[in-house]
Symmetry: C2
Subunit: 358 residues, 2 copies
């Protein structure tokens, strides 16, 4: 299966299926001719690096980084760039990002800045990166003062989404990816949301056909949004549904304990609650959101020890602000999200107090 | 005077004239409303920072870096980004690059990667940066293993080319900028080259009208080339006329002693010589090139201690290669350059031996 991303000046395919990584024909010509550099981590390399080598040869230079979000740093980026320059890799080298979101974001940023930009192939190996970060060209590293603070937009030349990689994904990480799948239904496709309500068991069981439909639908939504608004001037910000609340939770936990998708899951419940308090959606709508997120085994409540005041302050620190006021992705209706700074601050505080009751 | 740069998805003006820096109306609205961050150096700040403050206010946060090419580094970039994050500057902040090419390239790269890209105003204060680096969106820092190896394409929102800044520019730096002015005539505008032959004295005397015509014509050529080929897939590479030879000279000197424009000047003579040896231009054409470069007070011979073999090797290290073979910008005729890998290696070695006679 193939989903196309069509951005002004850049058109590329997402290939979706099984046994894709070892299929040389799916890679750009330069990479097939030996001009490639693989970036992966020490969890993924033992599992899938040999398949990239089967496609592109054993002599490929490889950078294996340690697994973990804290290695999505300027230091690790410098280590990658140093190695590429020491190998005298030219501007015609393709970077192959083999791993989850951390590898994809860092490798993508390396591709964005190495000699002012070189080709990139994303091979996402987690559900989260398959439905989210591998598509759309956002790349970044973290900074001690904030996540994704240093980065660039750099579209890949193609994305290879090999469903086989999900066979080895731990259950908790899989569910964190499901949060982003639910997000696409919630923000713009009520039919998909309804489909998820009746197919969640099959999805969690990683049934092939269900998985394939869920990922392809998610990628199509992401591709459509990114095609319309690559640089996040408008519509693309809708993809941050649940993220401003979620980032506050993650910051409170110092990016430990909870996975990103888990924080987004609770964040989506909070966005629904705030919308309901404005009278934009019904109490029954809110309950549907909570029910599906619970069914996916994802959290619907904030972690303990986080006060409403502290959460409000952490939300202010989020970078998606316009002239100082935090804009939030809220609901006109389930399946119809909007980005708004036009919400009632008192209702926001009530929502936070409702969730932060410790 | 105003020259427009029209790149797909990005249109911006180069304002050219006197007393522009203190004119608030020329800055983007966000910057006028206090959302700006100035990057400059310790040579330029005492001369022109007060004019930026006159336009945008005294409270502007400023980063003053030390003057010099060696500060165009990842370390200095990190220092800038650290400061911007510590100040909690949002994505609506405009970076104001006040200085020559080093400040412009580093500040431009910071604007390219801060929160995945923020607005940028270039205020070039040297002739070289006015006719070259401030226009076209190439940004970068150097790496111990090569110049401009880490960077991005990031177009400014506007360029303020204030001719007053040239009043304080040392003569040697002014002449180095003239090398790039001559380049535009040589690569695509024989009439401008001929005009320069008869106006070089006035240009070196910094006569206002002559200066204005020379800079505007150069900017128009740069804008036209960049509009047609932002990412240097083809035509833009012609702007590297003299640069592959020049970079070899600079690398030999470890980027000391000679200014970039001086190395490019000699490099243009060498490109003419190699073209003449292929029979593409005449001996008289070569002599015209040498004569104008000499008249500008620029070098037409390589520095001592550089052998032909060493120079050939240094040219190989330049990044503008396709599948291993160095492409050179050569002449079909004076005023008509082409990028070619289709030159005779023996004639290239003869040219290098002709120049490297020590």
């Amino acid at each position: 299966m193939r989903v196309d991303v069509d951005i002004p000046g850049k058109h590329y395919p997402i290939h979706l299926g099984r046994n894709l990584i070892a299929n040389a024909q799916l890679y750009p010509e330069g990479a097939r001719n030996g001009r490639a550099f693989v970036i992966t981590n020490d969890t993924v390399a033992p599992l899938y690096l040999n398949q990239v080598q089967a496609a592109l040869g054993d002599q490929l230079p490889v950078h294996v980084m340690p697994d973990g979000e804290r290695f999505k740093s300027m230091e690790q980026l410098s280590a990658v760039l140093d190695k590429m320059l020491a190998l005298k890799l030219g501007r015609d080298t393709t970077i192959i990002a083999l791993g989850g979101g951390v590898v994809g974001d860092l490798a993508g940023f390396a591709a964005a800045v190495y000699q002012r930009g070189i080709p990139l192939v994303q091979i996402p190996t987690t559900l989260l990166s398959q439905v989210d970060s591998s598509v759309g060209g956002k790349t970044a590293v973290n900074h001690p003062l904030g996540k994704n603070m240093i980065g660039a937009f750099h579209q890949p030349d193609c994305v290879l989404t090999d469903l086989n990689t999900l066979d080895t994904l731990p259950a908790r990480e899989f569910k964190a990816g499901v949060a982003e799948v639910i997000k696409y239904g919630l923000l713009g496709d009520i039919d998909f949301f309804t489909w998820l309500e009746s197919h969640m068991e099959a999805l969690l069981a990683r049934d092939g056909e269900t998985l394939s439909h869920a990922i392809a639908t998610s990628c199509r939504h992401k591709a459509q949004v990114v095609s319309a608004d690559e640089k996040e001037k408008g519509q693309r910000a809708l993809l941050n549904l649940g993220h401003t609340f979620g980032h506050a939770i993650e910051a409170h936990l110092e990016y430990r304990d909870w996975l990103h998708g888990e924080a987004v899951a609770t964040g989506m419940c909070m966005a629904a609650e705030l919308s309901q308090r404005h009278g934009w959606i019904s109490r029954a709508d809110c309950q549907r959101v909570d029910a599906l997120i619970s069914k996916a085994g994802l959290p619907t409540a904030v972690p303990s020890g986080l006060s409403a005041e502290r959460m409000r302050a952490l939300m202010q620190g989020d970078k998606k602000t316009a002239a100082g006021r935090v804009r939030l992705v809220l609901f006109r209706a389930l399946g119809d999200a909007l980005l708004s700074a036009d919400y009632d601050d008192a209702l926001l505080m009530q929502t936070l107090q409702h969730y932060c009751r410790d």
